[in-house]
């Protein structure tokens, strides 16, 4: 089964999951009015099932997955998530330079001037603008 067709199956399954599990469990029901709180979410879920099935039967377009890019995307997304978590504990001034440095090193930057620019100067400028100039807080 091609990835394109599989995406249709996934959408249809997600629609079913929404329709029978997620929407009923996370929507407070009301028995009056023309439009109930779950009407639009239910309608969306039904359409997702219908069009997901349609796409699984007659997939259109091309899907080319570059697995190297996918894995590296997952790596950078994880780094962003971890730095977000750490930012909540240690703050932007500590974690932002480290995050920028790790990201730059991972994509192959080795020139000291550019590393210093990205990891020290840019976070410092952001901090100055937001905290000192705009008088807003940072994590």
């Amino acid at each position: 089964m091609s990835a394109n067709r599989l995406s249709g199956v996934f959408v249809a399954c997600a629609g079913l999951l929404l329709l029978f599990l997620i929407i009923p469990a996370n929507t407070e029901t009301v028995d009056y009015g023309r439009m109930r709180p779950q009407t639009i979410p239910d309608l969306c879920a039904i359409l997702l099932v219908a069009f997901g099935v349609l796409h699984a039967i007659r997939p259109r377009g091309e899907v080319a997955i570059e697995w190297r890019e996918v894995w590296r995307f997952a790596l950078f997304a994880t780094i962003a998530a971890v730095s977000l978590f750490l930012m909540g504990r240690f703050g932007f001034p500590v974690i932002a330079p480290v995050t920028a440095l790790v990201v730059m090193l991972l994509i192959g930057e080795r020139r000291p001037v550019w590393l210093a620019t990205g990891a020290l100067i840019i976070p410092a400028v952001v901090w100055l603008v937001v905290v000192q100039l705009l008088e807003r807080t940072l994590p």
Binding site: S7, G8, V11, L18, N26, T27, E28, V30, G33, R34, M35, R36, P37, Q38, I40, P41, C44, A45, L48, G52, L54, H55, R58, R60, G61, E62, V63, I65, R68, E69, V70, R72, F73, L75, F76, A77, A80, A81, L84, M87, F92, A96, T99, A100, V103, M104, L106, I107, G108, E109, R111, W114, G118, A119, I122, V130, L134, R136, L138, P139
Partner: protein, 496 residues
């Protein structure tokens, strides 16, 4: 006819010093990000929106308009000098721009792009200014039933035109609508799909979703693919012969028909939601080539090719705002981002804008004209600077952009929860892109989801729950029929 005092007040706001400074800043930022391949004005607008939260309304909108206009021209610079379009819109510009640069005339190519971009953009702005108010008067005559039908029609056109599959477009639109239902139900006041997170009672934060899907998703993708493809060589401006580097009046005037045709194509396509500037640029380029006496010179450095592409892709910008201001439906992703900026400042786009916020709208029109003039002046003097920007390392650009996204969403949502939502939608956006589900359609549907539900509720009340009574509303019936025809034409016939 607008009140003259409102019009003059709006224009005086537009030409105030503060507004002028924000327009200049927006144009500079736009040209800068347009010149950097991979960022582009849409990502810059998404990142900038949270920072405009703290500005007065008109300077905030004017700044974003400046970013968009500057970015449209900025995208042409790497297209001409590196054969790598900074934005997809500039791909057609590279067809003749890069060969001309390789012939030793990079400055002439870039200046032609600048002049034709300003020409197309100004034409489109004049059309917007002229027709949007009368159209808004017509739109005000429509009731909830007609507007609901109009939204169905707009969704069907956008889903059919964007991407390579109608079904994928519909799935993206439905997913966008579903995400818009998160939070308190507008009719009953009961929470929906909040998964125990009380932060979601107000719905998914607009800025977090937009920045996640449009900016962070692309930044992480660029980081993931960094180093896998070598960067193209930059054609140096230093080798340009000063005697041939300027665009003479005769050369500009010789392109008048090409630019006029491009501006009309861009304006017409821009007014239709979902088509976009890339299609306009290629269509204008093809028609200029077809109409030319020497079509074989196209693709080999003909300045008319540059003029055709740039006038059309820039003309789309002003026209994109016609459906946004007239009926509250964005014609493009940039217009959708402007909706979020309007909403952040407590303004609901749509025909009532001309009645309730006339001063702001005429201020916006003034700022657009101002941005065109600024674009011309900044573009004239900063060309050599932007060629340095093109050579800045991706490592610094994308790591800085990531930090700005985190900070921007933190400021606009007031906590790390919003930043987490942004990250989740960055992953969602990437997955949608990989499988060919159009993110643009998702964003537009998400932004319009609240209004869609409101109009559907009102329609159901008016029709007493019986949709067959829609027959009493001929305009609504016509729009629904048009929606069905567009689904058939765009979905099944055109795309096979």
């Amino acid at each position: 006819m607008p009140d003259m005092d409102v019009l003059l007040a709006g224009l005086s706001d537009a030409f105030s010093l503060v507004n002028l400074l924000f327009v200049i800043a927006g144009v500079i930022v736009g040209q800068f990000v347009g010149a950097v391949p991979g960022i582009g004005p849409v990502m810059a607008m998404a990142i900038a929106i949270p920072f405009t939260f703290f500005m007065p309304t008109l300077p905030a909108i004017a700044f974003l308009v400046g970013v968009n206009k500057g970015g449209l021209f900025g995208g042409a610079i790497p297209a001409i000098l590196m054969n790598t379009p900074g934005t997809p819109d500039a791909a057609a510009t590279a067809l003749d721009g890069h060969p001309l640069a390789k012939q030793g005339k990079p400055v002439k190519a870039t200046k032609m792009a600048l002049y034709s971009s300003i020409t197309g953009d100004t034409f489109s702005d004049i059309v917007l200014i002229t027709i949007s108010a009368p159209l808004a008067v017509l739109a005000l005559k429509m009731g909830p039933v007609e507007i609901f039908a109009l939204m169905i029609f707009a969704f069907s056109v956008i889903a059919g035109l964007v991407g390579d599959s109608m079904v994928k477009g519909v799935i993206a639109a439905v997913f966008g609508l579903l995400c818009a239902t998160v939070g308190i139900d507008p009719e009953h006041g009961t929470p929906r799909l909040y998964f125990g997170f009380f932060e979601l009672f107000d719905g998914l934060p607009l800025a977090a979703v937009a920045i996640g899907m449009l900016a962070v998703s692309e930044i992480l993708r660029r980081l993931a693919s960094a180093g896998s493809t070598p960067r193209s060589a930059i054609t140096s401006l230093d080798g340009d012969d000063p005697t041939v580097s300027r665009v003479s009046w005769a050369e500009y005037w010789s392109c008048r028909y090409v630019m006029a045709r491009g501006a009309v194509i861009g304006t017409v396509l821009g007014a239709i939601p979902g088509i976009g500037s890339t299609a306009a640029a290629f269509m204008s380029y093809a028609s200029a080539k077809q109409a030319s006496d020497e079509p074989e010179s196209f693709g080999k450095g003909n300045i008319k090719g540059i003029a055709a592409a740039e006038s059309a892709n820039s003309a789309v910008m002003g026209a994109n705002l016609i459906p946004l201001l007239v009926i509250g439906i964005p014609g493009s992703i940039a217009a959708a981002l402007l909706i979020s900026a309007f909403k952040i400042h407590g303004i609901q786009p749509g025909p009532l804008l001309f009645e309730q916020q006339g001063r702001l709208i005429y201020g916006l029109f003034g700022a657009m004209i101002l941005a065109n003039a600024t674009n011309l002046i900044v573009g004239q003097f900063s060309l050599r600077l932007w060629t340095r920007v093109i050579s800045a390392p991706e490592s610094v650009i994308f790591s800085s952009a990531l930090l700005l996204c985190i900070v921007g969403v933190y400021m606009s949502t007031g906590g790390l929860f919003g930043v987490a939502v942004m990250l989740v939608f960055a992953v969602v956006g990437y997955v949608m892109n990989v499988f060919g589900f159009p993110v643009v359609v998702f964003i537009i549907a998400f932004f319009l989801g609240g209004s869609f539900e409101t109009y559907l509720t009102q329609t159901m009340v008016i029709l007493d729950g019986d949709l067959t009574r829609m027959i009493d509303y001929p305009i609504a019936v016509a729009l629904v029929v048009l929606a069905l025809i567009s689904v058939w034409w765009l979905g099944f016939r055109k795309k096979g």
